[in-house]
Subunit: 347 residues, 2 copies
Amino acid sequence: MRGARRFCPTSADKGPMAEATIRDVAMRAQLSVATVSRALNGFENVSGEARARIAAAVKDLGYVPHAGARSLSLSRNNALGVVLPDLHGEFFSEFVRGMDREASRNGYLLLLSNFHGRGDQAANVLRAMRGRVDGLIVMAPHLAADELAASLPKGLPSVLINTREGPDHHPAIHLDNATGVRAVVDHLADLGRKRLVHIAGPAGNFDAQERAAAFRQAVAARKLIGKIVHGDFEVQSGEAAIATLLSQGTRFDAIFAANDNMAIGAMQALRDAGLTIPGDVAVAGFDDIPLARHLGLTTVRVRIAELGERAVARLLDSLSREERTGDERHEPELVTRSTTVADRNTK
Amino acid sequence: MRGARRFCPTSADKGPMAEATIRDVAMRAQLSVATVSRALNGFENVSGEARARIAAAVKDLGYVPHAGARSLSLSRNNALGVVLPDLHGEFFSEFVRGMDREASRNGYLLLLSNFHGRGDQAANVLRAMRGRVDGLIVMAPHLAADELAASLPKGLPSVLINTREGPDHHPAIHLDNATGVRAVVDHLADLGRKRLVHIAGPAGNFDAQERAAAFRQAVAARKLIGKIVHGDFEVQSGEAAIATLLSQGTRFDAIFAANDNMAIGAMQALRDAGLTIPGDVAVAGFDDIPLARHLGLTTVRVRIAELGERAVARLLDSLSREERTGDERHEPELVTRSTTVADRNTK
DNA sequence: ACTGCTGATGTAACCGGTTACACTAATGCG
DNA sequence: CGCATTAGTGTAACCGGTTACATCAGCAGT
């Protein structure tokens, strides 16, 4: 590959459609590349006349700077890598929206990638980012701490979201799952609910584990009857969980799903079974995806987009100053709506 | 910026923490950079012994190739630019998921960006992609054809999704809105519904316009009473539309929202008003976001993720062969569920 | 022994920007 | 008028890879 002919120092003739480079602009404006570069980057020490000639040449040639080349020489990419697990639904879009907002506000682009497989796959994905991005935002609630630590490129500043604490401390943002869970359980208990079922997330997931553990504790603290069934954060598994509970004849008067998706599935299944919400069963979720408000779902507000913004802001911060101190906590809050409180119309 | 000292040809001493380069590896393995490069890229003509020494050096130094430099010399980025309007909710996540799947299957990453503002902003966003990506996927249902054409970098292969036809034909994928709309209207008519209300999308949006126009035609063809009210593709606007209709005393027996989000809002508002679905009012949407299935919403299945995959596949195609022929159509299909057909349990 | 070939390796010119340093001309000042 | 300063510009060495071409050793064929 690499262009056609190699020994054409002045590049008087490029292929017919070759993209214009800064040297082409310099030639057309009868100036040196240095002056062109300075003019384009808004330096002061360029005469007005030179500026004008350059502007004309840029326009004539339809010149657009080559960001890759610029990155190489500046050692600065103006891009951030975002590596996420296989997120679904509104959580994903809200999170990305938040990151994009903060990133583009600061002139950065987002390079997106998913952990598709496990272990070594993760390392590859992260390696592929080296030399394209200035920093990394990693959400890996499914990876073990050491697995993740081994995969993270050493030279790249990284912000970790909701990952297990590793020995080497990267800056991280942790969602305070326990506080959110406690608020929900207290709320349900205050309403007089006695038999709570928690639909948990996938077994290997860090957030799911924290939420389930917090549920166990909170239920014990309030002397309630608690049961945990397993889901996978998808709507479908919320429906399935209810179906199982009903077929087993389990008694319960409140469902607390580990995320809103499963809560929505549960609501649907409960209604299909002829049960009323919150009359027969109160339902609560976690995340507060935008839809939750419209469905009247009581849930734990995570302010997902804000979480994304914070992650980016944090990363940009550690890019400028050398300061890369410890963890931050992201505090969620309870939002009560009509799936637990019938009268109140918080919608 | 640019590293500390400039005249240190052999780079015997870099800064303490500088990232290892291929030259460092070469030095440590007592070989030339050419051999190292060949070995790392899996060429055949490298002796087993050299290979071993290189592998050792790579490991010792924790060397990771610099993708940016590689891109520059290969004129190939292994990244695709994705520029979207301000999408919300599940449409966004499904679409991105589809693109990511196909991209990563082929070893490409996605560089994400939003049209935040209008006009010239769009041009800037697209320019910023030059030199970082090998091609562009652009969804701009809110831009005029010439506006978009003017902003697209000339040298970058681009695939357009649901944009107005420009004079210069880029490869494009068009969602067949009219077919989908007709299917819904026919379905509602077949069910005996007479007074249809279409909740349209934002005025400047191409898809919204096509759907509204198709609605008008289909309603006329079936000799129904049709009315169009305006929304903005958000859940909230679906709720608002119903509120307005009810307060005006408008009579209707079917709601057809221009997307699922608004349909969900409408369902919520109808239920809050004590109306039954589909008893009093049938409801249909457009998109078939994953949630629609769980809510039993009759809608037009767009196979959003597949649309994303197709876009990427199409783009990769036009990168390899020179072939970049005309448009493709993406055909949607009607999915009937319980918001229009009570008995049938398609859930 | 000489030529022709093959396989492994090295040298250095790229990719397209940025910028340290050198240089020239014009200006300021004693 | 002479010298220091400054404003504007040019040259070429980077950034970290890839690879065309040159080189050189080893071996087969005659």
